[in-house]
């Protein structure tokens, strides 16, 4: 730096020190750590589709695609991926936007905000198992209605669960994706001055929903696009939810990919790769169609805005419908999870009784060794992946702050890469890589792959509060002689305790819920609560399933509890921290 030409971000930059130089490298390093596994795994997944397979020794060719095309379930499986994916994303988006439009500036808003974290922290597998217990022919709903309303004395032979149209699967996806989209909307809302726009629209005579759609939505959706794409890609390729709630003959395409990829004799690896490629093409195609849909809706919104239609009377009819749509999956999820807990302590419980004859801890006692083992594995994996992700995320953000970096838009896309690229499209390739390097089945390899999925969520969760932190505090600290490191450790980190702990809890929830990465990279040898719960789900021992699913929910819930309680405890006497 030449005298007379100063260009420091905050004047606190530790550019000269070794620590400062290391910090400067972190954003680049982090992006590599995210992108390399996804891209390498993707390449590794696709190679066998074209016959490049070191393990089977076949030459290049398109035989895998021929085999895939001859699979009789192909059309149904592919179509199911599209319908359940698009259907659930549309519904979840509609519900979350409707809820926000209805509640902005009303007292219910805070309630929804408080309910979000617990709903979000429920792992996909636990949610699916809960729903399955609720809607199965022998589930709680049927029991509650039998025999007085239905006359059933035996569970009916109905395909309510695993229905061929994938309605149960869609319901499950909506229940899980709506809270995520709601969270993303709430995070983006402050940057749209929604309340002012809604007030202006209302003063011009617009109804609540119309005011929201015409004045807030255009600004909001620009920031919502990536999360929506992630939800769409996830919903189209969900594995564990589709295994539990989806149809079986044929299953959804992603489930079939996993079945082929995990066959012990490796004979179908080529077919699995071809199917994974088809899955990617489907996702890309649907994302393209969705993008065109976005443009269509935008034109529609602009046209509606110019037309001056106030739609004031629409509110009265539409708001109850939206409320019902929002409550159905939420209540179903809550009832399902309650059902899991009851089953885990149920003694004799025969159909059509709505309540077990007696409650007992026998299931828990009997399953205790396995439950304990799986909990410890889940917990240590989650702690390791979350801690690593948190360190990387904070290092990136601190580097951004100290060196005045301005992240470009493509960085955000890269961050979303592991969320948008279907898991079935890159995990089988990573599995091959792990196999050939001998890392497979290792605890460290599983923790690392968990980290790839945990990092984006941790980063997205902590970055907004980190960047919103009052910069004058850093200047004040520096003016008092504190180094950049001291400002970080003594001022910034303690002041951001709540968001940092919340991000950690989000990371724990994401890691605990991971099914496919654990299964594939763990080579079946790393048994977590999630892999065990899903493995048990086909067996039908509801009591044990209930116990595993309950613990699977409990770990993230405890993490969120700590994130909520610890700042209150530490800052009980600091009113300025806003936690008490």
């Amino acid at each position: 730096m030449t005298p007379g030409k100063v260009a420091t971000g905050t004047g606190t930059a530790g550019t000269g020190t070794a620590g400062g130089r290391l910090l400067r490298l972190m954003p680049g390093l982090t992006l590599w750590l995210l992108a390399v596994p996804v891209l390498a795994g993707f390449a590794g997944t696709l190679a066998p589709a074209f016959g490049f397979d070191p393990l089977s020794g076949t030459g290049p060719g398109l035989a895998a695609f021929t085999t895939l095309a001859q699979w009789p379930g192909l059309r149904a499986a592919a179509w199911l991926s599209v319908t359940s994916g698009v259907g659930s994303t549309l519904l979840a988006l509609l519900i979350s936007l409707g809820v926000v439009a209805t509640l902005i500036g009303r007292p219910g808003f805070a309630t929804v905000q408080r309910l979000l974290s617990p709903l979000l922290s429920v792992p996909h597998a636990a949610a699916a198992l809960g729903l399955a217990f609720l809607i199965a022919p022998s589930g709680w709903t049927a029991r509650a209605l039998s025999p007085w309303a239905t006359g059933w004395m035996q569970p009916p032979d109905l395909l309510i669960l695993n229905d061929p149209a994938g309605l149960a699967l869609t319901l499950g996806l909506v229940a899980k994706e709506t809270p995520f989209l709601l969270l993303m909307i709430l995070a983006a809302l402050p940057q749209t001055d929604a309340r002012q726009r809604m007030t202006v629209a209302a003063s011009l005579g617009y109804g609540r929903l119309a005011g929201f759609a015409l004045t807030v939505l255009p600004a909001l959706y620009a920031q919502l696009r990536l999360p929506v794409y992630a939800v769409l890609a996830y919903a189209m390729t969900a594995v564990e939810m589709a295994m539990i709630l989806g149809p079986t003959l044929p299953p959804s395409l992603s489930v079939q990919v996993v079945t082929w990829a995990t066959e012990p004799n490796l004979a179908h690896r080529g077919t699995a790769a071809a199917a994974a490629l088809l899955q990617v093409v489907l996702v890309v195609g649907v994302l393209g169609l969705w993008r065109m849909g976005e443009m269509g809706v935008r034109r529609l919104v602009r046209h509606a805005a110019r037309s001056g239609w106030r739609a004031a009377r629409v509110d009265a009819t539409l708001q109850p419908v939206l409320l019902g749509l929002a409550l159905t999956p939420a209540l179903a999820l809550a009832a399902g999870l309650a059902g899991l807990s009851v089953w885990s302590v149920a003694g004799l419980w025969s159909f059509p009784d709505a309540w077990p004859e007696d409650l007992t801890l026998a299931t828990w006692t009997r399953a205790a060794p396995g439950l304990w083992q799986a909990s410890i594995t889940s917990l240590t994996l989650a702690l390791t992946a979350t801690l690593a992700a948190l360190v990387l995320a904070l290092a990136c953000l601190e580097a951004e702050h100290r060196f005045g970096l301005n992240p470009q838009a493509w960085v955000l896309w890269l961050l979303y890469l592991p969320l948008i690229v279907p898991q079935v499209a890159f995990l089988p390739g990573l599995q091959m890589l792990a196999l050939s390097t001998g890392a497979i089945g290792g605890w460290a390899a599983v923790a690392a792959v968990h980290g790839v999925f945990v990092l984006p969520y941790v980063f997205l969760s902590v970055s907004a509060p980190y960047r919103a932190w009052d910069d004058r505090i850093a200047v004040q600290g520096a003016a008092l002689g504190a180094s950049a490191a001291r400002v970080f450790w003594r001022l910034r980190l303690p002041m951001l305790l709540t968001p940092v702990l919340t991000a950690a809890a989000v990371g724990m929830a994401v890691s605990v819920g991971q099914y496919l990465p654990t299964l594939l990279i763990g080579g079946g040898r790393v048994e977590t609560l999630t892999t065990e719960a899903v493995a048990l789900s086909s067996g039908g021992n509801r009591r044990v399933i209930g116990a595993y699913a309950l613990l699977q929910m409990a770990l993230p819930a405890i993490a969120f509890g700590i994130a909520l309680a610890l700042p209150r405890l530490i800052y009980a006497k600091r009113r300025g921290m806003g936690v008490v």
Binding site: G11, T12, A479, G481, R490, L491, R575
Partner: protein, 213 residues
């Protein structure tokens, strides 16, 4: 050479000159920079404290007690700053805030903090939560925190403009008295003529023109 010198200091944003000053502030003297908002007042302070954003270009030197601090980071400049708000750290007690300002090698830290609080009329406040203090009390803690860091100059960014008139006068007198007693050169940035009059030093615009009150 003692005091604070801004030597041919010029700050531009693109083609626009925001600051052009060539002045000297003697120990115990106050330089007041006045101007409407957007006139470059805060840009000047950012440059002096060392937090000028990258899209500004600066030429000239900032010299404090014979040391050219132009290229030094904020923490090494030995300049205290008091912002419009007191910017007390909300997660630390009053004593914790003051301890943060006190240099690390200082002995008898607790005694120093308690003595400082007593001098400010805040005896026994060390364990208090800053959020429970009145505006005037918070301002005094902020001043004490800045002084405990042993600064060689003090910068005031429209200080205490959130306080009501009477309290503001009181705090202003307190700051000026302490700064003079410690022979600190002082730069006051304000849009308030009352502040400028009370400071009794030269008053200029960010572009160096004298202001007649």
């Amino acid at each position: 050479m003692t005091g604070l010198q801004l030597q041919k200091l010029e700050i531009r944003q693109g083609d626009r000159v925001l600051v052009s000053l060539d002045v000297e502030v003697a120990p115990g003297e106050v330089l007041t920079v006045m101007g409407a908002s957007g006139s470059g007042k805060s840009t000047l302070l950012a440059a002096v404290i060392g937090t000028l954003p990258r899209d500004f270009t600066m030429t000239g030197q900032i010299v404090l007690n014979g040391v050219d601090v132009t290229a030094l980071p904020t923490r090494a400049r030995k300049m205290g700053i008091l912002f419009q708000d007191d910017v007390l750290f909300p997660h630390l007690s009053v004593g914790g805030n003051l301890g943060f300002g006190l240099p690390a090698r200082t002995r008898n830290r607790t005694e120093r903090i308690d003595a400082g609080l007593e001098e400010m009329g805040l005896a026994g406040f060390a364990a208090r939560d800053p959020a429970t203090l009145s505006g005037g009390q918070r301002a005094r803690v902020a001043l004490l925190r800045a002084l405990l860091a042993n600064p060689e100059a003090l910068l005031l960014d429209e200080p205490f403009s959130r306080l009501d008139t009477e309290l503001r006068e009181q705090i202003r007198t307190l700051v000026l008295t302490h700064a003079r007693a410690l022979s600190l050169p002082l730069v006051l940035v304000t849009h308030d003529a009352e502040d400028a009059r009370a400071a009794t030093g030269p008053v200029v615009t960010p572009l160096g023109q004298a202001v007649h009150l």
